[in-house]
Amino acid sequence: MIPHETEAPPDEGRLIREIRAGRTELFEYFVRQYQKKITRLAYRFLRDVGEADCAAQESFLRAYQSLDSFREGSTFETWLTRICINWCKDRLKRRRLVLYFHQGPRRENEESEEPQELAVNPDPSPERRAAGREIRDRLRQAMGALSPRQRSIFVMKHFEEMSIPEIAEVTGLDAGTIKSHLFRAAQKMRERLSDFRA
């Protein structure tokens, strides 16, 4: 029986043991729980909805088929995330990397779309909205200076709000290397912003 959302979180370790014993239907819990997050993460890398869906499905399939290799000291979510990132990395290597720097889908008329959360002022003036758009543009352009690896780590840290240990576990890099990438990403973005001023 699949645990209902309002019930206490199930013991994922127990679920995995039962799936290994042959109860395939219990894997549905993990799909319902994590597919949205995994798809969103894949989309940040692949920049295409169809490919992100494919990445998510393939990641779950790989996780299901290699469940014997899952170490119970880790969390299923982190392990699945690592599978997804590796799949995305392989996919990107087979594509031209210029697609990785794609700015993302731009809405045709950005002025007509209000941000859902207005941290500064719930009813900003046109000048404040224009200032906000300008800052977002500068931020995107600064991110354009990053290498694929730097961008991916920057996105995981500041957009997906993953901790450094989590990023280290899903990428297979050590925490010191993660911090080096973040530091170097920050340097490059500052240099790009300074170039705009100049």
Partner: protein
């Protein structure tokens, strides 16, 4: 010393506060205590970070719950089509472990003879690493070089110099 009007925080400084390089929140400059313009600017940079993060995946964020449910159903259908999981018999696991131990034992004399004094990549190491892992290692070395202030564009593969 207090900043003057001309010493307002730059975009680079505001970004550093909104997205700290260390990954941890940094102490706010004293200047922000007395400068409403810079405080507001920092709020706007933080808001911009949230907005860009959301816009980055806007196409997915606009999906309905029914569409998500459908995607999840498709995943489960794929898993059911895959059939029973392949389980590796215990005997095969034991053979794999024995083979690995044998390789390590054979590689031991080569590791002692390493000339550089640093752990050398031995044939046994190469046997355990895939081509993808070796690519990652090369990328990590480049990252280390960059983190130490190396030239951004020299000696990097094409994709890193884009």
């Amino acid at each position: 010393m207090d900043r003057t009007v001309s010493d307002h925080l730059s975009d680079a400084e505001l970004l550093a506060l909104a997205a700290p390089a260390s990954g941890e929140p940094e102490p706010l400059p004293r200047h922000l205590l007395g400068c409403e313009a810079c405080s507001r600017a920092l709020q706007e940079w933080r808001s911009a970070m949230r907005e860009v993060a959301r816009e980055d995946v806007a196409e997915l964020e606009n999906r309905s719950s029914e569409e998500w449910r459908s995607a999840e159903d498709a995943t489960m259908a794929a898993i059911r089509r895959a059939g029973p999981r392949r389980t590796v018999p215990a005997f095969r696991w034991a053979m794999g472990i024995a083979a690995a131990l044998l390789l390590v034992a054979l590689a031991m004399p080569f590791r002692r003879e390493s000339r550089s004094g640093k752990p050398a990549a031995t044939e046994s190491d190469m046997a355990f690493t895939s081509a993808a892992d070796r690519d990652d290692d090369a990328l990590l070395r480049d990252a280390e070089y960059l983190a130490q202030g190396g030239d951004d564009h020299a000696d990097l593969p094409l994709e890193e110099s884009l």
